[in-house]
């Protein structure tokens, strides 16, 4: 499984570096495109973990949907030609200290806990099992998700609508 390890470290490096750029970049569009690589890397991680359907869903929803939505948000809320993007961050040093302590604590917990693990299996595809589980054991959640999506779409459309009556 040496190839597996190499691929994991490559993808992990991509994810961490691009996420760091997202967090630290002054240019918001660069941050958004760095986020694209984070999403791609996370999709790769999912596929490494044998979850091919989730990986592709990640690609579809995050890259094809949320990222485009974010980019539209950036382009609609910033004057693109005059650089009017609010750049400065607030409370950088205390935040770094607190988040660093938090991260150290998390990593400590993650490494020191004796997780109960089983031998990982790599199914050819998870689609069949996923579909069956989703529609048998989690069918109510599935339906509620559909309704939530519908409500979110209607709500978003209502919020973003131009109210012509006020003018």
């Amino acid at each position: 499984m040496e190839l597996y390890d190499i691929i994991f470290y490559l993808i992990a490096l991509t994810v961490v570096v691009s996420a760091a750029i997202v967090v630290g970049s002054k240019n918001i569009v660069r941050a958004a495109y760095s986020l694209l690589f984070t999403f791609l890397g996370v999709a790769g991680i999912y596929i490494l973990l044998g979850a091919d359907f989730i990986g592709v869903t990640q690609l579809m929803v995050y890259v094809g949907g949320i990222l485009i939505l974010l980019l539209f948000g950036i382009m609609l809320t910033n004057k693109v030609y005059s650089v009017d993007i609010r750049r400065e961050n607030s409370y950088i040093i205390p935040s770094i200290v607190i988040v660093g302590i938090f991260a150290a604590f998390l990593i400590f917990v993650m490494t020191e806990t004796n997780w109960v693990t089983a031998d990982p299996t790599f199914p050819n595809t998870t689609v069949f099992e996923l579909g069956k589980t989703l529609l048998v054991h989690y069918s109510i959640i599935f339906e509620i998700l559909a309704i939530v999506l519908l409500i979110a779409l209607i709500g978003a459309a209502t919020l973003a609508r131009n109210d012509n009556k006020e003018r």
């Binding site: 597996y4 390890d5 994991f8 470290y9 992990a12 994810v15 961490v16 996420a19 997202v22 967090v23 941050a31 958004a32 986020l35 984070t38 999403f39 991680i45 999912y46 973990l49 044998g50 979850a51 359907f53 989730i54 869903t57 990640q58 929803v61 995050y62 949907g65 939505l69 974010l70 950036i74 609609l76 809320t77 993007i85 609010r86 961050n89 607030s90 988040v99 991260a103 990593i107 993650m110 490494t111 109960v116 693990t117 089983a118 990982p120 998870t126 996923l130 589980t133 054991h137 989690y138 959640i141 998700l145 939530v148 999506l149 979110a152 779409l153 709500g155 978003a156 919020l159 973003a160």
Partner: protein, 103 residues
């Protein structure tokens, strides 16, 4: 470096989570805060799928992450609508300066 196992994935997700939290805390731009939230959700998803893969719990972890992804999509749509409304009202989207509910 040891053989890649559950811990590696968990550490990766912890780093991603911390970076996301940092972005949420530090950034003023609402869209940057949204990006931070996406990072946090992604790190949570990595955890779910890593446990589903290495643990003995079947496919349920993947289903939870699917739910998270769908909710993230809904959240992004609503958040973008709110951000657009903020921009219409304040002509900026700095979350620390948005302190009035009504004009």
């Amino acid at each position: 470096m040891a053989h890649v196992g559950l811990t590696h994935f968990l550490i990766l997700s912890a780093i991603l989570f911390s970076l996301g939290i940092y972005a949420i805390v530090v950034r003023k731009n609402a869209i940057m805060v949204m990006m931070g939230i996406e990072l946090v959700l992604n790190s949570a998803n990595i955890n779910f799928i890593a446990f589903a893969h290495f643990g003995n719990y079947g496919i349920s972890g993947q289903i939870v992450s699917l739910v998270v992804i769908i909710l993230a999509a809904a959240e992004a749509a609503v958040a973008l609508a709110i951000v657009l409304n903020l921009f219409k009202t304040y002509s900026h989207i700095n979350v620390d300066e948005v302190n009035k509910l009504k004009e």
